[in-house]
């Protein structure tokens, strides 16, 4: 009996050791970033996880220095996010409503096409998107970026919303129709209010995309005044005259400011994400 207790104790200790090491590996890089953003001086060589004389200078610099574009980038990301969110929600819910509630010629092939298009990585067409936008004159404009975002999210989100609409009982629509409600009224008064959770997911997803995505803005935007946050921060540490060595602490401050709100939202919503993922996985 004692032997068994000993083995069990060893096992638990082993697990704790592994988990603690893993937690350290997760936390240390993040802590290092926060520490760097508070370090004095701009060099990476001097940045420490626990700076001796913490300072908020770099945050101040981001917001007040005339050389800093941080607020402009933030505003750009916000504009792109807001418009993408608006159009994405409007278009995907309408499309999903049709696919979920109506049986029409071409419905099945439409759904298959959506599924197929969803598999193509959007990156794959980057050559074409770049050349096309150049030809149409939308290169280096926020409008071009918004259009590409809205179009790209349609297949995935339509499937998502359609799946959710399918779980709302059709008897509700039928009852409303008996009472004389038309196509649009059923949509606005019954489906949309009941589908709020999935609408929040779609809206948040498209609102946050421009804050997290790097590739598309990098391809489409050229002028530093048009950058979104991600491209801007990359520029910060990769431009010819400002390498890691002399801009790192400012970069760290900018990163913290963007990562903090997004992580908060994520951790707040993660229960729903995970519930959705596992129910999707186990129920098929």
């Amino acid at each position: 009996m004692n032997m068994r207790k000993l083995i069990s104790g060893l096992e638990v200790t082993g697990i704790y050791v592994v988990v603690l090491i893993m937690m350290a590996i997760v936390i240390l890089p993040l802590l290092f970033t926060v520490g760097s953003s508070l370090t004095q001086g701009t060099s990476m060589l001097s940045s420490r996880m626990f700076p001796a004389n913490p300072t908020l200078d770099h945050y101040k610099w981001l917001f007040t220095d005339p050389e800093s574009y941080y607020l402009i980038w933030y505003k750009n990301s916000l504009i792109v996010g807001a418009f993408t969110c608006l159009f994405a929600v409007a278009i995907t819910t309408l499309t999903a409503y049709a696919f979920s509630r109506y049986r029409f010629v071409g419905r099945r092939y439409g759904l298959y096409t959506f599924l197929l298009l969803q598999m193509f990585p959007s990156l794959m067409a980057m050559v074409a998107i770049y050349v096309l936008l150049m030809v149409v004159g939308l290169i280096d404009s926020l409008a071009g970026l918004i259009i590409v975002y809205v179009g790209g999210q349609i297949p995935v989100n339509t499937w998502l919303v359609k799946g959710y609409f399918n779980t709302i009982s059709r008897e509700l629509d039928d009852a409303a129709r008996c009472d004389g409600a038309g196509h649009l009224r059923v949509f606005f008064k019954i489906l949309l209010p009941l589908a709020k959770p999935i609408l929040v997911v779609v809206a948040l997803g498209s609102l946050m995309a421009p804050f997290m995505d790097f590739v598309l803005p990098k391809i489409i935007l050229r002028d530093i005044n048009n950058y979104t946050i991600a491209v801007g921060l990359f520029q910060f540490i990769n431009s010819a005259f400002a390498q890691f060595t002399n801009n790192f602490t400012r970069f760290a401050a900018g990163s913290v400011l963007i990562a903090l709100p997004i992580s908060m939202v994520f951790l707040f919503l993660q229960r729903y994400f995970i519930a959705g993922l596992t129910s999707g996985a186990t129920k098929g």
Binding site: I15, V18, V19, P29, L30, F32, T33, M44, L94, T95, A98, F99, Y102, R103, R107, R108, G110, F114, L115, L116, L117, M119, F120, P121, L123, M124, A125, M126, V127, A128, Y130, V131, L132, V135, G151, G152, I154, P155, H183, M212, F214, A230, L233, F234, F244, F248, F251, A252, S255, I258, I262, S263, L267, Q270, I274, L277, T278, G280, A281, G284
Partner: protein, 427 residues
């Protein structure tokens, strides 16, 4: 209303008249509809005839006068013209079938519907199409058009030295694909990058899944406390935007200034050229990718583990099963079942993980005799060819290969997914 007999009404005549859209409908006494078809056809003709004429000529020749004809514009117009032509063919077919069907209905003795009835039936039947229209249009122009355009580019000679408006493009058939397989300059790079891409996606995915599995099982152990705290911390890498963490890691792994060489390895007397040696960079990328990607799987595995009913384990205990057996025959099957549908996501995601490769050190370090860096995967090589060397035609050709591989693999996998099957049967 006057009762009239339409028994002499001929469907063949109606369809024949509708060779000019609208006339057949007029013959069927559908005045409004006939007028609409006539007007719509005329409008289409006046609006699009010139455009389509140029477009179809353009996509065939790609222009004849260097400096005047812009091949790219002609190509775009050409693709749009082909799409319009397809839409018009569908419209034309609908018009013919409609005239024929309505004539049949009248012939069999039905009365022409009143305008009000028809308007409401058009509203009801057309409603779903109106809902789908905006999304479909966007999809066609923003997702499908670029894809078609890219496929076309792969069959042209569009590159830095041959670019409009100064020069004309030409159709070159499969020459670009042949160059990828034969021409020494392209061949070596292509096979080098391709094999690394495959190794990368296999290793990267396996490491992510392995670590996630181990941690999920460990943390789920009933003897472990502070589960919520541990899980929240372990999920953090998923919560922080990945472009930020990749750039941070890129700084941490920096050969001279990075904290890893400076603070961790130096005291041990070690030095690893993370940024300049091919295999060291690959190792660093695998480490970072595991760090970034395991939390997603960890969350899923944890959810599954929590949902496995305790009864199963109790029953196994009663039957004398030991811990290994319980793990093998109860836990693992559940986990693998949940992993199935998302496996393709993981592999495809790593196969096309542009962000990590590019943000870490732009696919570097450079390799002698190749025009791609040592860690470039296909997709980041495409980026280089587009924006650095401007070999647009080759970039498009490689993109097609990526797309075909991804779609074939995903399609094969998705066919097995329950949701997909069910949707197919229901509609």
């Amino acid at each position: 209303m006057l009762v009239r007999n339409f028994s002499a009404h001929s469907p063949a005549v109606a369809a024949g008249l509708s060779i000019i859209p609208g006339l057949g409908q007029l013959y069927n006494r559908q005045w409004m509809k006939g007028a609409f078809f006539l007007l719509f056809t005329a409008a289409c003709y006046f609006l699009f005839a010139d455009f389509m004429n140029i477009g179809l000529w353009g996509i065939w020749t790609l222009g004849t006068l260097p400096g005047t004809d812009h091949s790219l514009w002609l190509l775009v117009k050409g693709i749009i013209s082909v799409l319009l032509l397809l839409i018009f063919v569908v419209y034309y077919a609908i018009n013919l079938v409609d005239a024929w069907k309505e004539a049949r209905r009248l012939q069999s003795g039905a009365l022409p519907e009143s305008f009000r009835d028809r308007a409401s039936s058009v509203w009801n039947k057309g409603f779903p199409y109106m809902l789908v229209l905006p999304g479909t249009l966007l999809l066609v122009f923003i997702v499908a058009l670029p894809l078609i355009f890219m496929i076309c580019l792969a069959f042209t000679d569009y590159s830095l030295y041959n670019s409009p408006p100064r020069k004309l493009l030409h159709w070159v058939g499969f020459a670009n694909f042949r160059a990828l397989l034969d021409m020494p300059m392209w061949k070596d790079t292509f096979f080098g990058v391709f094999s690394w891409t495959l190794i990368w996606s296999l290793l990267a995915s396996t490491l992510q899944i392995g670590l996630a599995l181990m941690l999920a099982v460990f943390v789920n152990d009933p003897r472990i406390r502070f589960k919520r705290l541990i899980r929240t911390v372990l999920i953090l890498p998923w919560a922080v935007p990945s472009f930020v963490t990749i750039m941070i890691f890129s700084a941490l792994f920096n050969n001279e200034f990075g904290a890893i060489n400076r603070d961790v390895l130096q005291p041990l007397g070690l030095y690893v050229p993370w940024m300049t040696d091919v295999w060291s960079t690959r190792g660093a990328l695998l480490i970072i990718n595991t760090w970034l990607g395991y939390p997603f799987l960890f969350a899923i595995f944890t959810g599954v583990l929590q949902s496995i009913s305790a009864d199963l384990y109790e029953a196994a205990t009663v039957d004398g099963g030991n811990r290994m057996q319980k793990f093998r025959f109860i836990t693992m099957p559940h986990l693998m079942y949940a992993l199935g549908p998302i496996l393709v996501l993981i592999y495809a995601g790593n196969f096309n993980n542009f962000n990590l490769i590019y943000l870490f050190n732009q696919g570097g370090p450079p390799v002698l005799g190749q025009n791609a860096g040592g860690t470039d995967i296909l997709i980041s090589w495409v980026y280089k060819m587009t924006f650095t060397t401007q070999n647009y035609n080759m970039a498009a050709a490689v993109s097609i290969i990526i797309g075909l591989l991804t779609v074939l693999f995903s399609y094969y996998h998705l066919r097995k997914m329950a949701a997909f099957k069910e949707e197919g049967q229901r509609s």
